[in-house]
Symmetry: C2
Amino acid sequence: MSTPPYHHGNLRAAVLEAAERLLDQGGPSALSLRGIAREAGVSATAPAHHFGDLSGLLSDLAAIGFQRLAETIRRAATDPAPRAPVHAYVRFAQDNPGLYTLMFRSDRLDYRRESLAAASQASWAVLLRSVGSEARMPAESDLATLGQVTFRWSLLHGFCTLLLDGQLRPLLANPACNGDPHVLLDVMVPPPAPVRPGPVPTQAPSP
Amino acid sequence: MSTPPYHHGNLRAAVLEAAERLLDQGGPSALSLRGIAREAGVSATAPAHHFGDLSGLLSDLAAIGFQRLAETIRRAATDPAPRAPVHAYVRFAQDNPGLYTLMFRSDRLDYRRESLAAASQASWAVLLRSVGSEARMPAESDLATLGQVTFRWSLLHGFCTLLLDGQLRPLLANPACNGDPHVLLDVMVPPPAPVRPGPVPTQAPSP
DNA sequence: GTTTTTATCTTTACAATGTAAAGATTGATG
DNA sequence: CATCAATCTTTACATTGTAAAGATAAAAAC
């Protein structure tokens, strides 16, 4: 058997893959710099050269998560079913519980990182477009649009967070749910969900 | 100056207070078993005898948080303003960011703990009552009630999580918000919010 | 083609953490 | 008073993040 070469070649990608593997197995708490290096088959301090420190590595991983989530929503938006994006969002969280949790654990991330800031901002564009806004940044929108965006994201993110945290288990134990979160999701999400602009039925009037 | 007595007296309460002090200062990531012991002025392994391990200590602290949150909602429910509980919930998260974050970080908590399980279950009762249900457990409710509960909690929890995580900063930077999350909250929360049962306007019909 | 530089990876080292085990102290119990 | 049990301390060990210095090899310079 040949010893591995001193220079890995593309350790950066290998480390991110190793990290995601551990993330899928043991959740965010299983992500240690040394553990990831071990999984990737390199020395304990090798990743530091590529990512700076642990929060740098996790931030790049979270950035990948935001990119994938945005892509998932973008793709689901082409589905004729009006609530396809909603279910796609939740399914993303279900399919990638560790990654989704990591993405919103700001104490382990560094939002000054270029990669994470860009990916996060790109998610905003997708979100704004989903409520019919042409703006690319929330700062350029009017209050009603902000309300819609906040409403949508809060509802979905809250649901996913509670779900992954196990807080919805008592609800899902109810026979009417049959253990399926999407049943709960269907009775929770307000029905019309206009994709294109127009009057906002579930919105409060301006004070 | 007299040396402190070998037996503290009520170290349990002192440790919890020390923990909350550190939590308020540095967030959940500042909570280490040794650091808490240091803050309480005892040896590093003293808390272990009262709480077992770190997750035990944090679980008891989170349980206190759930009790306080439930009490906050209960008190706000007597306010004539229909949306008082909503604002009270968000204000609780704003006033206790570390505690609120800890309460929903399941990877550091142990829900098999009596204290935490009881406090969490008590929160359910309050939540169910807020939508007019008489049930004390979600398992006893019908699907429509579950939908309402899930809707309310997801929306509020999602908003608070995003807020504390800093994800709403781009929105709050919008001049219309004036940096106040409650402005955003007001345009987000659906208006009628019936406290007592009746037809549910923002709810989807059964499929 | 040889030398120098630079990026990449390893080894070593150190402080901090969680927790297990054993010992010290003290209030309670008989 | 003697014994016990609860409480707290000391000691010890494996693990972590990360800084510093050394080894290796690819790339660049000549």
